[in-house]
Assembly symmetry: C2
Homo-oligomer: 211 residues x 2
Amino acid sequence: MNDDAMDLRTRNKQATREAIGHAALRLAIEQGPNGLALVRVHDIASAAGVSPRTYNNYFSSREEAICAFQADQSRRVGQALRSRPSAEPLEEAVIAAVTELYTDPEPDRAGLAMIMSTPALEGEALKAFSMAEGPLAEAIAERTGTDPRRDLFPAVTAAAVAGAIRVAGRHWLQPGVTGSFATILRSALSCVFTAAPTTHGPGKAGGDGDD
Amino acid sequence: MNDDAMDLRTRNKQATREAIGHAALRLAIEQGPNGLALVRVHDIASAAGVSPRTYNNYFSSREEAICAFQADQSRRVGQALRSRPSAEPLEEAVIAAVTELYTDPEPDRAGLAMIMSTPALEGEALKAFSMAEGPLAEAIAERTGTDPRRDLFPAVTAAAVAGAIRVAGRHWLQPGVTGSFATILRSALSCVFTAAPTTHGPGKAGGDGDD
DNA sequence: ACCGGATGATGCGTGGCACGCAACCTGTGC
DNA sequence: GCACAGGTTGCGTGCCACGCATCATCCGGT
């Protein structure tokens, strides 16, 4: 987007950051969820073509590097919602914005699996998803005309949306679940805006005939 | 509750765990959010009356030890919901269960502030709160008669509830916010079950006290 | 009450990591 | 072309997680 508007310095820095993050995730996937301890900083650094010391200038832990992509993605959620027509109802706007952002490239299954099903990565993954909440809450507050400092609705909804994205991801990764991520994501987000369904019909979710 | 039903061994172990967790949180509070790096493992261990090696048998990071209490609390949420009369509507049951669990002793402001406003603790704190989601989702699924493996509603709602608790905590800690934690918590949880308030009149945050 | 087994608590040693520091190299603006 | 700001690298330090072997303590059966 603004890559050309940046200094060469800045662009290189960004590229380095992405290179390290990408290398970290790739190596983590190779080792699998149980071999995370085997992914040495040295390996990540050399895979990214930088010195270990430089790696450490960008990230202060392997976990942070591995989840960098998720974190970056989360940072864009607020803006994504703002870019929806303001006439659109909140529910539709949120679903459209989130779905668009998270399915432009269908997520990398292996990467998501690594990030979401590795205990040691859990904290960082949660942190990554929660990064969306602040900006999202502001965008929601703006759209609904509420004051986020006094009304909890925007923040709670933002947290719920972030949670729904997580849940959708987890569900999508489950073996035996069919359906595109987009479908599951929409379904999960719908739940956020649907008050308690005391008796709530069967088979939503990825919901085509799997039993 | 079942303390007397446990083996002496088990009880001691539990006590040690709590001692370490408590010591860790106390020391962290003393150093403040910016001095977390100064809280040495050795200090925590000796403050808890155990060897550093033993500390490491219980927790594999300072963060984990500091957030142990939050984690333990989260593990009880599922059970708390199950203990509500099954005739009660989901919303009321959840609000009652969570409020009861989180306000039996009014939370320690300093401790919560430490846990929720220290970047280095953020991941572990999120992890602690998210521990409630699994059991909570199951309890919700059971109460609403939905199959959590096919329907996303239980999991999404559980995540939303966990998020609401977090948001309530953050709001409660904000300077200038009046009102008991119980009130704020109820207000936040209400948002979860309230569909989008396109025009949403009352039902604010601190509700009673503030302007 | 006694004893063998199980389980937790410790000490020690090892490998790795985060980060401060200072020198070096590379774009940038004058 | 030059001096400077900013990024990269190597080195050294202190801390930490964890495997292993040992010892103390608790448990259950006889």
